[in-house]
């Protein structure tokens, strides 16, 4: 189980995170949602070890895989070369096996020798995610993974992520598509101005708004934020 307790982060005078706490169990899909500047990416970068928190404690079991919002890939290298490079950098024990496994999982085996710059946005994102999974992490952090993907690519992406969670990987993801939080998240963490406003299921968030009769989750989420002054 991943545990974050009272995590705080400031950039200059601006507080990006204010004592945020949450937990995520093994195999759980935790959706982190909130308006722009809420602190979602900052939270994930702290969990990934890219940034250090100014305060609070963090307990992360095992390896953490991180998939940044924008594809972190070398466009002039092939799919296989990118995977091999990052496998070496992640100090994966058997690089060749890990690369073949990811090519298989992402169904990119046929494009293995294509330079990444020639792939579609959807396929680049698959390679991006594959790199995050090279070290077979127990926790996978996805920062807005479906951005720039068409509906079909998004569906394939979530099928893939659900399979991972089903296999025991804890997945924490941020998204601007709040319906993806409702549909795929086993729990939802709402942040606004660096503050945790809600931690629970989508149904509980729905019920928390005064106009609980609305069936639309996105409208319920906006109402929730408005009622709390955001």
């Amino acid at each position: 189980m991943i545990e974050a307790h009272e995590i705080g982060k400031k950039f200059g005078d601006r507080a990006a995170l204010r004592s945020v706490s949450f937990e995520a169990a093994t195999g759980e899909l935790l959706a982190v949602i909130g308006p722009n500047g809420a602190g979602k990416t900052t939270l994930l970068s702290i969990l990934a070890g890219i940034r250090e928190a100014d305060s609070g404690t963090l307990t992360v079991p095992g390896k953490v895989g991180w998939v940044p919002q924008q594809a972190s890939l070398y466009r002039r290298l092939t799919v296989a070369e990118n995977l091999r490079l990052f496998a070496h950098l992640e100090q994966v024990v058997d690089v060749d096996v890990a690369v073949e496994r990811m090519l298989d999982q992402t169904a990119l085996g046929e494009r293995r020798d294509d330079q990444v710059g020639t792939l579609s946005g959807g396929n680049q994102q698959r390679v991006n995610i594959a790199i995050g999974l090279l070290s077979a992490p127990t926790v996978l952090l996805l920062d807005e993974p479906s951005t720039g993907l068409d509906p079909r690519q998004r569906e394939r992406l979530w099928e893939f992520v659900l399979d991972l969670a089903g296999a025991g990987t804890t997945v924490i993801y941020t998204t601007h598509h709040v319906l993806e939080a409702e549909r795929y998240g086993s729990r939802v963490l709402v942040l606004a101005d660096g503050e945790r406003l809600f931690d629970g299921t989508a149904a509980e968030l729905h019920a928390a708004v005064s106009d609980s009769q609305t069936r639309d989750f996105e409208r319920a989420f906006v109402s929730f934020l408005r009622e709390r002054g955001h």
Binding site: Q70, H88, L89
Partner: protein, 452 residues
């Protein structure tokens, strides 16, 4: 780090334009410099029109060795490469076309004018110069060359005249035969022999007689004249060439001009290849959004920085060696000094790579880093080539301080010292390069803190 280096080399390999530039640039630079240095005649080309009649000769006094049209040409063409032309129109055309720097025309009556110098009605001898001053630098060069040429000609003439005057003085002092062309040869007694004859005559005159006293005063005058004319001989030589130069080097170990040019070419190549490659490569990590992903693993920001510096050193070493090999076909390079040359390239490459990393870390984008690298590197290279004495002392001190802060100056010194035993001591520039590597490495590391 090994995998990152391999990755960068692989990306380079897949960028044919950059690889072509990396190879073609130093080879082209080397060949150009090689041709410039290995030309069979580095003197400026000047069209030469000699209108002096072939059989005419200018003689000073009775000297058999006169000045004729051939001698005039040889003397004048020592400083410039003379291109003989037949007509004034041909000379004008060559100047206008830029085939020659200038045209020098010796008029038909030049020797008559020269001869008039020894007459009661002297004329000022004139030569004519045609120039094409299409830019100020060329105009200044032409003026300097022509002035030097005329000074040389005047010096030759005054030496000839001084020599002839000295011959006359010798004749007056020691006596001898004087040849007056078309008239006759006659004997000149000379002051020495005159004194001896007068002394002998004086001995035969009565000791208390007025005649002997008068003769004694003539003898004293003759002796005085002889002694003073003896002093006049070296004075004539001094008048012919009043100032000579005794050069003492009090500062600086200058290598040969050829070696300096090779060192400049190698250093400029090192600078551009290394700074642009490292700055661009580091900025690319951010542009590809890969920086955070790479540095969260085992490598870390310092490891990434070290890899980029290593990439710069590897590339600069290969490219600079390529440049020197290309130059070897055209100019002489002392390859027995190869270990020192390798050491200089490595040290200079390290300093430039670290400097490039600081630029790449600050700029964050490939285009911005390339632009910044050019904008910073070029002025520093120009400043490093400003010789002392061409600007005021205060300005030069400021330039020296700026030079010391950047890698070009120590890199150039290291290359000069490595290429030529007569060049500067190599140890100090090597240490300077190492210090620059460390300082810019720290600055680059600080810049990377804002990189993610």
């Amino acid at each position: 780090m090994r995998w990152l280096l391999l990755k960068d080399l692989q990306i380079l390999r897949r960028s044919p334009l950059i690889v072509a530039l990396l190879i073609a640039y130093p080879v082209a630079l080397g060949v150009l410099i090689g041709f410039a240095l290995s030309g069979d005649d580095s003197r400026p080309r000047v069209a030469f029109l000699n209108e002096i009649p072939e059989d005419e000769q200018f003689q000073i006094g009775g000297d058999e060795e006169g000045i004729d049209r051939g001698l005039a040409r040889n003397q004048l063409c020592e400083r410039v490469q003379c291109v003989d032309v037949e007509t004034r129109a041909e000379a004008e055309q060559m100047v206008e076309d830029g085939d020659v720097l200038a045209a020098l025309i010796l008029p038909e009556d030049l020797l008559d004018q020269l001869e008039s110098l020894a007459s009661l009605n002297p004329q000022e001898p004139m030569v004519e110069v045609l120039v094409n001053e299409d830019d100020p630098v060329k105009a200044s060069l032409v003026d300097d060359r022509i002035q030097a040429l005329i000074t040389e000609a005047n010096l030759i003439l005054s030496q000839r005249i001084s020599d002839e005057a000295a011959n006359y003085l010798d004749l007056l002092i020691d006596g001898g035969q004087f040849d007056l062309p078309l008239i006759a040869d006659f004997d000149v007694l000379g002051l020495v022999k005159s004194g001896a004859i007068l002394n002998a005559v004086s001995e035969e005159l009565p000791r208390d007689g007025d005649a002997r006293a008068a003769l004694q005063s003539v003898i004293r005058f003759a002796r005085l004249a002889q002694e003073n004319l003896d002093f006049a001989l070296p004075l004539l030589g001094a008048v012919a060439e009043p100032i000579s130069v005794d050069k003492t080097v009090v500062s600086g170990d200058s290598s040969a001009l050829d070696t300096f040019a090779i060192a400049v070419a190698a250093t400029v190549t090192l600078m551009f290849v290394t700074v642009l490659l490292v700055a661009g490569s580091l900025a690319l990590e951010r542009e590809e959004n890969a920086f955070a992903r790479i540095t969260r693993g085992a490598v870390g920001p310092s490891g990434l920085l070290a890899e980029k510096v290593l990439l710069g050193i590897v590339a600069s070493f290969a490219v600079t060696l390529l440049l020197l090999v290309a130059l070897t076909a055209l100019v002489s390079i002392e390859w027995q000094r190869a270990p020192l040359i390798a050491l200089a390239i490595l040290a200079a490459g390290g300093a430039f790579a670290s400097f490039g990393a600081a630029i790449g870390g600050s700029a964050k984008e490939v285009r911005a880093s390339s632009l910044l690298a050019f904008m910073v590197s070029l002025p520093i290279a120009f400043l490093s080539l400003v010789p002392s004495g061409t600007v005021s002392g205060g300005v030069f001190k400021a330039i020296e301080i700026i030079r010391a802060l950047f890698p070009f100056d120590p890199a150039l010194d290291a290359m000069q010292g490595a290429l030529d035993a007569a060049g500067p001591d190599i140890l100090v520039p090597l240490l300077h390069c190492a210090a620059i590597l460390v300082v810019y490495g720290v600055l680059a590391r600080l810049a990377l803190r804002r990189f993610a």
